[in-house]
């Protein structure tokens, strides 16, 4: 009766009864106590030590988003493709940041600032940092936290390098960019470039321009970037035509920069190196 019920074995008292660990004679009172306990303990079952050895505890860890993505990819496509950029169709902010970064590094001129990418990558980094702070104590979670922290460092590097490249390009032709290409900048970049231009203007005026004898020479000449002699390596992402010449996806070529400017804006091409 009481031995037949499975819960009877699982309670501590039931086990003590069964294995007689207390080393004393059991009376009928004990039996009735046990039966009462069985009725009441149905809702709260204590798992005894032996039980725990039978079932390994399932260790759940907070996984960084990229690992979940990687698993989805693994389940989704069966054939392996080494060029992961082509396989990856999904739109994770980190991937978009890397694309924007590689284009900005390799392009000769300043590209438009992508506000969405910036905001989404900031949020993603914050999420990752929270995940790292909240990691639990077991070694698996510690490993996942360290992987996530490497991920954070990498994302931060890409972000900083992207912004630093933009800054470098901005400071090459500050006056031209301030006057004609202000739509390619973010708000902070715009305020920076205005302050920078003012400083440069003041410096040049005080050192050189004010000392010129003729009035007409006191204006600061504005340098414009010249891309007449710039060639780039590009790779086609989508079929497109350049000067009525059709290009297929996957073509790589060396071409004059002016010809591919529009295709670059549309996203059909990708600059490989410059």
């Amino acid at each position: 009766m009481f031995l037949a019920s499975p819960s009877g074995l699982r309670t501590k008292r039931g086990a003590a009864f069964l294995f007689n660990t207390t080393n004393r004679q059991f009376t009928m009172a004990d039996l009735y106590n046990l039966l009462d306990q069985l009725d009441h303990d149905e809702q709260e079952e204590e798992i005894i030590q032996e039980e725990q050895e039978w079932e390994a505890p399932v260790e759940t860890a907070v996984l960084p988003a990229d690992l979940i993505d990687a698993q989805k990819r693994q389940l989704a496509d069966n054939d392996t493709n080494e060029d992961a950029k082509e396989v990856l169709e999904e739109d994770s902010p980190y991937l978009r940041l890397r694309n924007v970064w590689s284009q900005e590094v390799n392009a000769p001129e300043l590209l438009p600032f992508d506000e969405d990418v910036f905001q989404s990558i900031i949020e993603l980094i914050e999420d990752w940092e929270q995940a790292v702070d909240q990691c639990e104590d077991n070694p698996v979670s510690a490993l996942m936290a360290s992987i996530t922290s490497v991920q954070i460092e990498r994302a931060k590097y890409v972000l900083c390098d992207w912004l630093a490249t933009r800054l470098r390009k901005m400071e090459e032709y500050p006056f031209y960019i301030r006057d004609y290409k202000a739509d390619c900048l973010s708000q902070t970049e715009l305020s920076h470039i205005q302050a920078y231009c003012n400083l440069v203007q003041k410096h040049l005026s005080r050192t050189v321009l004010d000392h010129f004898p003729q009035e007409a020479w006191k204006e600061l000449p504005v340098e414009e970037p010249n891309f007449d002699y710039t060639y780039v390596f590009v790779k086609c992402l989508a079929p497109t035509t350049i000067d009525k010449d059709p290009l297929e996806r996957g073509d790589s070529l060396i071409i004059h920069y002016s010809k591919i400017r529009d295709s670059l804006r549309d996203g059909d091409l990708q600059i490989l190196a410059s």
Binding site: D66, E82, L143, E153, Y231, L253, S274
Partner: protein, 220 residues
């Protein structure tokens, strides 16, 4: 992570002969690793998991997993590719873009299985050298193509990151300079300079330089 450790997280500059950015981007390629632990849902002990290369390297350095070499990185695949590169004029497209950087990273340490990493590394180095030589030999052809075609473009199918890093800047600079010189040549009036001026190379300024003071001609 304190700052002393954070420098170990990113690839060291110049460690594998190519630029830092190239090796950084190469570390994002997906690769298979066999973990020794289980962390659902991605990692199950003994089951190959697909992760970016930087994660795979992290696991390998902590002895938590073994990296499975990608299938193109084997002697059977690389020897025919080397033959193909030596015989055919065009670059092969069957190697991934970051093949050189990936090989440098994966062949650094001895392997658990019986593949010899040095053989693979030497093969990839040979392939790289052959490809670079082929590209260099085709430079005059590129210049000619640029000049003749209506659409001045040159097809370079199959070019990879390492060759691009080595030859790219020089080639683009050369094309740009050549375009500049041709442009100058078209727009200048061809006036010869004073015969008594012996020194100086060719000037690329539009107007001829007329010296204000007669230059001396030194006799030996």
């Amino acid at each position: 992570m304190n700052t002393a450790q954070s420098s170990l997280l990113l690839p060291a500059a110049g460690q594998d002969g190519s630029s830092f950015r190239a090796s950084f981007s190469a570390e994002e390629t997906l690769i298979q690793v066999i973990p020794d632990f289980t962390a659902s849902p991605t990692f199950m002990a003994g089951v190959p998991a697909t992760v970016p290369l930087w994660q795979a390297e992290l696991l390998q350095t902590r002895s938590l997993g073994r990296i499975v070499l990608p299938e193109w990185l084997s002697v059977d695949k690389l020897r025919p590719i080397l033959q193909q590169e030596k015989t055919q004029p065009l670059l092969t497209t069957s190697l991934p873009f970051y093949y050189y950087e990936i090989t440098r990273k994966l062949t650094n340490r001895p392997r658990h299985d019986d593949t010899n990493p040095d053989v693979l590394r030497l093969l990839v180095e040979d392939i790289f050298q052959v490809r670079v030589e082929k590209l260099r030999q085709q430079f005059p052809a590129y210049l000619a193509l640029m000049e003749d075609q209506e659409i001045p473009k040159v097809d370079v199918p199959g070019i990879a990151s390492a060759e691009l890093a080595l030859l790219g800047p020089f080639l683009l600079q050369a094309l740009g300079d050549r375009a500049l010189l041709l442009h100058q040549k078209e727009t200048t009036t061809t006036t010869k300079k004073n015969d008594s001026v012996e020194e100086g190379g060719e000037s690329i300024v539009g107007e001829p330089i007329r010296p204000k003071v007669p230059l001396r001609r030194f006799r030996r």
